[in-house]
């Protein structure tokens, strides 16, 4: 297997293609709305119309606009049909020959599509994720072939460093630097791990990438392995994503069959094996040290860093851990060059970012925009704002580790630094829009309940702190809180943030702190409405007036 073979496969795939291609979204969102049956109905309709030699119906990955699914698109830029039902199928085929389709036609020129700059998602919804040939046809695996045959490992690290790519899992650590650290560590064995344990509620970017373009991630992993000198890789996927797991399995066996993975990648002396490890529903396993313990078959509890995984990782060997989206960025950087990538986005946050837009917004789905795009563009222009004329109250980014950004900060550009300044984080890319009906204390309580349940219990601040914070928030929500509780809440949050062992605990208070910062009045309202008065005007113990009389005055 070499470049010529790749080009040959691509050519063969291209010539076998029928003149018209109808693409049906078969990613999880559309599948759950009968996507598979629609694909079958379309195939049947094609056969019935006698067009089988000219039209092919292909199942593709995520087409982005989940709220309007199931989606079907004719040709590369043809009409986009939304909310398709099986009954619409014959008319869609008839429309190819001048008929009228009964399905609702979408607008491919809507800002939702035109504002996007697809890099990670460039193949999503275009190729068939279950055929390696389909990926090779669009230039897949050429970057890997080039890297293993013509580049030195440190050269590869240098390209990634120059590109300015930063980790897309949330923290934004420079990817090139991480690679170079692992590459320079001497060890008898090294590992590459793809972190696909997308635990943030409200985030589904990684699921979509794995379901729509699994080979892209494998290619990124193989390039990373070559760069750092690893020969074994693991993809750690959430058990909640059965479709992603099955497509990944298919992709691995296809790549192995073609000699792209396994012993002698592209007939070189570089070996790379990839295995899948399925998570078992623990949010903390997204944290890298916990994830490694889980791969080793243990309880997923984190450990202190340093030593960082780059020095001592899986089974004590240096391990490179990258997020799915980070790895999906690698092949295009190698192909098109570091300068091209560095030309997109902001000075400190380069490239694009995939966001999962959901919540109270008209167009929910997956979008990819250059770093630095203002939140307003994403939420109002692309997302179409709150349905039925409601007003955006806040945008929640970063899941349970992030914060709520209030509507008056919507002009903030989305990059690592700007979001951090607002007390939130980029996170993995979940973006939940909230409207005036959402109570922020309730939202903070929701996230704290999540963190409380998901705390692994290893360190005390997180194990006990999250429970206490949740208790206070519940008390406040029930209207039984005092002003003192709000102060205790703040102190507790600071303590948990500063003393917890891992990222889960350190970031768990973020939703509370950010809502306290921007929506303090909602906390206050819960206290003043029904609770006892603030400590300042409440007599201290033994200071005279009994509490009962004061309550009476309050009424």
């Amino acid at each position: 297997m070499d470049l010529t073979d790749l080009l040959e496969i691509a050519e063969k795939e291209r010539s076998a293609r029928k003149p018209t291609m109808i693409r049906c979204c078969t990613a999880a969102g559309c599948l759950s709305q009968n996507g598979q049956a629609i694909k079958k109905a379309l195939t049947d309709a094609v056969a019935e119309a006698g067009l089988a030699s000219e039209v092919e119906v292909v199942g593709v990955g995520c087409m982005g606009l989940c709220s309007q699914g199931p989606l079907v698109q004719v040709g590369a830029d043809g009409p986009l049909y939304e909310k398709v039902t099986t009954e619409d199928a014959p008319s869609i085929i008839a429309a190819l020959q001048g008929g009228q389709a009964t399905a609702k036609t979408g607008d491919p020129l809507h800002p939702f599509f035109t504002r996007q700059v697809p890099v990670v998602l460039e193949n999503s919804g275009r190729i068939n994720p279950e055929r390696i040939e389909s990926y090779i046809e669009v230039g897949g695996y050429q970057a890997l072939c080039h890297v293993v045959r013509e580049m030195q490992p440190l050269e590869v690290c240098a390209v990634i460093t120059e590109s300015g790519l930063r980790g897309r899992g949330g923290a934004g650590y420079p990817t090139g630097l991480k690679w170079a650290t692992v590459a320079k560590t001497e060890a008898e064995r090294k590992y590459v791990v793809c972190n696909a344990d997308e635990g943030d509620p409200g985030a589904f970017m990684d699921r979509s990438v794995l379901e729509s373009d699994p080979h892209r991630v494998l290619e990124g992993m193989a390039i990373a392995a070559y760069a750092v000198g690893a020969s074994q890789g693991y993809v750690y996927v959430r058990g909640e994503y059965p479709l992603a797991i099955s497509r990944l399995k298919t992709a691995i066996s296809q790549a192995r069959r073609l000699g792209i993975l396994g012993v002698g990648v592209f007939e070189t002396r570089f070996d790379f094996r990839v295995d899948i490890r399925i998570g078992a529903g623990a949010f903390v396993c997204g944290e890298e040290t916990a994830l490694m313990r889980s791969i080793e078959g243990q309880r997923g509890t984190p450990r202190p860093r340093p030593p960082f995984p780059a020095a001592r990782g899986l089974w004590g060997f240096p391990t490179l851990i990258n997020n799915v989206e980070t790895l999906a960025n690698i092949a295009p950087i190698v192909t098109r060059g570091a300068d091209w990538f560095a030309g997109i986005g902001m000075p400190k946050s380069k490239g694009t970012k995939v966001f999962a837009l959901a919540g109270k917004v008209s167009n929910t789905g997956l979008i990819e925009v250059p770093m630095g795009t203002p939140l307003r563009t994403i939420v109002e222009e692309m997302g179409g704002g709150v349905p039925e004329g409601g007003r955006v109250k806040a945008v929640q980014t970063g899941g349970p580790s992030g914060g709520c950004i209030p509507a008056d900060h919507l002009d903030t550009p989305v990059d690592y630094e700007s979001l951090a300044q607002l007390g939130s984080i980029m996170g993995s890319g979940g973006m939940i829009v909230m409207d005036e009906a959402d109570n922020m204390v309730e939202i903070a309580r929701f996230f704290m309940e999540f963190c409380m349940d998901e705390s692994c219990g290893k360190c005390v601040p997180c194990r006990a702190g999250t429970v206490q914070i949740h208790r206070i928030l519940s008390k406040l929500s029930a209207g039984e809180g005092t002003r003192e509780d709000i102060e205790t809440l703040r102190d507790l949050c600071d303590m948990v943030k500063q003393t917890s062992l891992c990222g889960l605990g350190q970031s768990a208070p973020n939703p509370v702190l950010s809502t306290l910062r921007y929506y303090r009045h909602e906390y206050d309202a819960l206290v003043t409405q029904t609770g006892p008065p603030a400590p300042s005007d409440r007599p201290q113990d033994g200071a005279g007036r009994p509490r009962g009389s004061q309550k009476g005055e309050g009424r």
């Binding site: 997923g300 959901a358 899941g399």
Partner: protein
């Protein structure tokens, strides 16, 4: 010391997948999975996944069997099985209703769905009805946020769920 011992030839080679004394064929399949992983302790989570798939839930005897086969202390197997939400140590009902409690589903009214089914079944989320017909479960996030609120009914994902529709479906199971 233990490494030396394991290298000694006197330890007999492991036999091919053994039949379980109970004659239950599912043990054979579990044994095959463990064999594929060469009885490595690292494969514990994978093995538990298979065990749960085969048996529906992880009984204490099953956990002991896995511990014995992989040569790890039962405490570790029990520790892992209880740590991860995916593993269930109690039998599930004939039907399962999983309600996604991710952020997107939450702001789109998942709590309402929860109270609907809880009221209908008379049990809380995470419990099974007394007659063993329906199990109510919560999911952290199905990643189907674009079609929130989402539920999984007997393994099939449904998006944009309305409380009425869910009520009908679960009521059908209970009768």
């Amino acid at each position: 010391m233990s490494t030396v011992a394991s290298k000694e030839p006197e330890s007999p080679p492991r036999p091919a997948p053994r039949a379980h004394p109970s004659g239950d064929n599912r043990f054979k399949m579990l044994e095959a999975t463990m064999k594929r992983h060469q009885y490595q302790a690292d494969a514990l989570i994978e093995v538990l996944h298979t065990a749960q798939e085969l048996f529906g839930f992880l009984e204490t005897d099953l956990l002991l069997y896995v511990a014995h086969s992989l040569k790890v202390p039962p405490s570790r197997v029990f520790g892992v099985a209880t740590f991860y939400h995916f593993f269930s140590l109690k039998p599930q009902g004939d039907h399962t209703c999983v309600i996604c409690m991710g952020t997107a589903c939450y702001v789109k009214g998942a709590a309402n769905l929860v109270s609907t089914v809880e009221g209908l079944c008379g049990v809380k989320l995470g419990e099974t009805t007394a007659d063993g017909k329906v199990s109510l479960l919560a999911a952290r996030c199905l990643g189907a946020c674009g079609i929130a609120p989402a539920v999984v009914l007997d393994g099939d994902v449904f998006g944009n769920t309305a409380a009425e529709g869910l009520h009908e479906r679960v009521k059908g199971w209970l009768s």
